[in-house]
Amino acid sequence: MDPLMILMAVLCVALLIAALMTLITENNFRLILYFAAFSLTAAGLYMLLYAPDIALAEIAVGCAFVPLIYTIAVMKQTTLNVVVRCAGSEQCDCYMNPERLEAFMEEIGRFCDLYGLEARLVGGLEGKVTTVAGIFRPSSPDLLIDYDPVQDLIRVEGNENNCLIESLERWLNQTPGVAFVGVGVSENEEVEA
């Protein structure tokens, strides 16, 4: 068999893997890296198919320029979106006290002032289960909160892509009545307030 054909088949498989990983990954910076890998593999395929002009353009644009723009876009986040998990879902079946929510948002706002951010309450989407991860999410929340009436506790779930999430966790652990549950999709951890 022609070694060029084998190389092309390997590149095709790598292209598929890179495209799928771009779709299913949950980390924004890793997504950019997968996209760059996709562009590089596509450029190699163009080169094997005797289109060096297109390969050069693909490398220059898809591998250097577009990832740079995406990196700046991820870096330039200016708001901290907070979403209240909706009352209709099965995880939480009661409404939160409005004063309690206001106090919590004030606390978040004091944290955001340190970093030049702006805390914003996006509001839960009724009838839909919201997550902080995944590429097909309706909005991009950084914090997902729900209220536990039994222990009078606000459970906070953070988005792991946010680079401030560790300092926010430290900040929230000192606040009474608030429990930081974890990042990403881990919801089963029990954290004492």
Partner: protein, 145 residues
């Protein structure tokens, strides 16, 4: 304890590394971009690809520079002038050079064709480089234009 304490040392550490690597890489990137632009009629490449490479070199400098004072409006104005120059050059080429030189394969005609192609590539490269740099600069300083 201020939350900035945990962030500050990490940033300054990686900053030196970024600076040195970028400055090492910069002349090679500029050379490669100019090579692609000027040799675009003979080898793979051309105005667009070389322009993007030049824009990437500019972005490296922009990332590491301490004071980010780029006159964005002047950049955009030069780009607009280049755009019109490109259109005018295309029309002039179509009117005066294309018909007479289409069938000639003498060495003089080939040399003239090469000169015309290099001029076009230079125009396109400059326009693309300025445009891409403008996009990135605008992206950094949102709402300054």
């Amino acid at each position: 304890m201020s939350p900035f304490n945990s962030l500050r040392p990490r940033i300054s550490q990686s900053y030196d590394l970024l600076k040195v690597i970028s400055l090492l890489l910069l002349p090679f990137m500029l050379m490669f971009g100019l090579y692609i632009v000027f040799n675009g009629d003979l080898s793979p490449g051309g105005g667009f690809q070389g322009g993007v490479v030049l824009a990437t070199a500019y972005i490296l400098v922009y990332f590491i520079s301490e004071q980010k004072t780029v006159e964005l409006s002047r950049l955009i104005r030069i780009e607009k002038v280049l755009f019109f120059a490109l259109i005018v050059a295309g029309v002039v080429h179509l009117l005066f050079f294309s018909g007479a030189l289409a069938t000639l394969v003498t060495p003089e005609a080939m040399r003239l064709k090469r000169i015309i192609l290099i001029a076009f590539n230079m125009l396109i490269g400059a326009k693309v480089a300025l445009g891409m740099s403008g996009i990135i600069t605008m992206f950094f300083e949102e709402g300054s234009l």
